[in-house]
């Protein structure tokens, strides 16, 4: 749908939502905790479109996300991104699918020899590449049509996410055992890429919010020492370099998946004044917000989570109970709190479950610290 087919965003809602959204970052008092269920292709469901349609039409995807934010009364920020960023810039083939986000195949690094010859693209080349070209179509739409909902996000993931979009994940995991120095080399390239990509966004919009962290590098796939070496340390290097290059200031540590064995490492990860930490799971269970606050509450803004499995397949009563428990544990965290989901809102999650998270925040997320 073109822009004129959407009803205007309610400016009163936008003002109130912006006020709620501002509190966790700058301690400006507002009524209650804001909810951010990380809306991406779920917006396509709201608009009765396919996931494929959503991702192949970034301008419309952004409009759908912004209006879905209004519908649910959640974080008023437009997003467009998917996991398999950056592979296509280096020669991988991107496959646009009807019922799931784009995926890549034919990755550019096929063997150990390819690692040595692999060169990271400079910012000017990345800016013209397929990932940013698509990403910026969405961000430019937000900036033009929904300027108050704009955030200059760069979707990077951590070092393991970047390098497994360059080389097949099974090869990378094999090299971690047989030739770990090769993975070190790839991590260094990933760090360089992350800095260059952040530079592109900053050059275009004046500032940058870097989504990083650790998704592949979780406790279900890697042990603590592997996570430290191939994820935590290179990601920390990348964040330090980004901040020292002046291409921040937003740092979003998205620790998706199970981090029971490595969450404590991230306590000392480099941070900026606008840093947030989100951790998905503690073993098989949702990461308790009480534990999140205990470890990160005196450092940065905390992102407490409701299990996406529950949002997707649970009853509203189950969602409400978990959202209540998490928001009560986090709402007065000293450096700000947001209630969200453990990862992206599932595409076909029942809308009532997303609404129920907001209901729990309204009922139990009123601030007492102000």
């Amino acid at each position: 749908m073109p822009a004129e087919d959407y009803a205007p965003i309610d400016q009163n809602w936008l003002g109130e939502a912006a006020s709620l959204w501002t509190t966790p970052w700058v301690d400006k008092p507002s009524e209650r905790v804001i909810v951010d269920p990380i809306i991406l292709s779920h917006a396509a469901t709201v608009f009765k479109k396919s996931v494929g349609y959503f991702y192949q039409n970034p301008e419309e995807a952004m409009r759908m996300v912004c209006h879905t934010c209004e519908m649910y009364d959640i974080t008023p920020v437009g997003h467009y991104l998917f996991a398999d960023y950056w592979g296509a810039d280096y020669g991988a083939e991107i496959k646009w699918q009807t019922n799931s986000p784009p995926s890549i195949s034919n990755r550019p690094i096929k063997n150990a020899e390819d690692v040595d010859s692999f060169e990271v693209l400079p910012p000017e080349e990345l800016a013209k590449g397929p990932t940013f070209s698509t990403h910026f179509r969405a961000l430019d739409t937000c900036l033009k049509e929904y300027p108050s909902m704009f955030a200059p996000v760069t979707q990077l993931g951590g070092s393991m996410e970047v390098l497994t979009n360059w080389a097949a994940i099974e090869d990378v995991f094999m090299w971690m055992i047989t030739e770990p120095e090769l993975v070190d080399t790839l991590c260094s390239r990933a760090v360089e890429h992350m800095v260059n990509a952040s530079t592109v966004t900053t050059d275009k919009y004046g500032l940058n919010v870097m989504i990083t962290g650790s998704v592949v590098a979780s406790g279900d796939l890697m042990d603590r020492e592997q996570i430290k070496r191939f994820s935590y340390q290179p990601v920390s290097r990348a964040v330090k370099k980004v901040l020292n290059a002046g291409v921040g200031p937003g740092i979003y540590y998205h620790l998706c998946g199970n981090h029971y064995d490595d969450y404590d490492l991230w306590r000392n990860a480099p941070m900026s004044p606008f840093s947030i930490v989100q951790i998905g799971y503690d073993g098989q269970d949702i990461f308790p917000t009480s534990k999140l606050i205990e470890n990160f509450g005196d450092r940065c803004t905390c992102f407490g989570t409701v299990d996406t499995k529950l949002v997707d397949r649970g009853t509203p009563a189950q969602v409400y109970a978990q959202a209540k428990e998490q928001v009560l544990a986090g709402k007065d965290s000293p450096r700000g709190f947001i209630l969200g989901t453990s990862c992206e809102c599932p595409t076909t999650a029942p809308p009532i479950n997303v609404h129920t998270m907001v209901k729990a925040a309204r009922d139990h997320g009123k601030y007492e610290k102000f």
Partner: protein, 166 residues
């Protein structure tokens, strides 16, 4: 001859560093006087409270004013850069110099102790908001600096805070 030796040769008279026209204009734009920078450098030289680059060629001195921290990066003969931030550094985030589990050595050495300075999070306060930021910390945990790039990041952060806290 290292910068330290050259400075020793000045016999405690303080430095008189050369400033390029470009940098002088930048200082004017920021409202910083040449004499203030000179004073910051002289104090750092007499007290030893400064950072020295690992190759010994550059130093960073800082002066803390009520609402502004001013940094001077200089060689033995020339002022190389002047940068500032409004956020006030309060101390180490988390209160102690815990093990960071990553390579946290910076390109700088604490001149007073000769120990490598570390890149660590420090708490910063501005407009009543306290959050972390990347600092350069002397290992005794008593002296904190930021790099020119981080100062740029902080300027952006300060603008956001000014807009959102207004």
């Amino acid at each position: 001859m290292s910068i330290i030796d050259k400075l020793k040769n000045l016999g405690g008279k303080g430095m008189d560093v050369k400033i390029s026209a470009e940098l002088e204009n930048l200082m004017k734009d920021k409202g910083i006087k040449k004499e203030e920078v000179q004073e910051i450098i002289n104090k750092a030289e007499s007290s030893g409270n400064k950072l020295k680059s690992t190759d010994g060629e550059l130093c960073i001195a800082k002066g803390e004013f009520e609402n502004l921290t001013v940094y001077a990066m200089y060689s033995a003969s020339e002022l190389k850069d002047v940068y500032t931030h409004k956020m006030k550094i309060l101390g180490l985030t988390g209160g102690e110099l815990a093990d960071a589990d990553y390579d946290d050595e910076s390109d700088w050495v604490c001149a007073k102790t000769g120990e490598p300075a570390l890149e660590r999070n420090v708490d910063m306060n501005y407009m009543g908001v306290t959050r972390p930021g990347p600092g350069i910390v002397c290992p005794n945990g008593s002296d904190f600096y930021v790099s020119p790039g981080v100062a740029k990041t902080l300027t952006t952060a300060e603008s956001v805070l000014e807009e959102k806290r207004a």
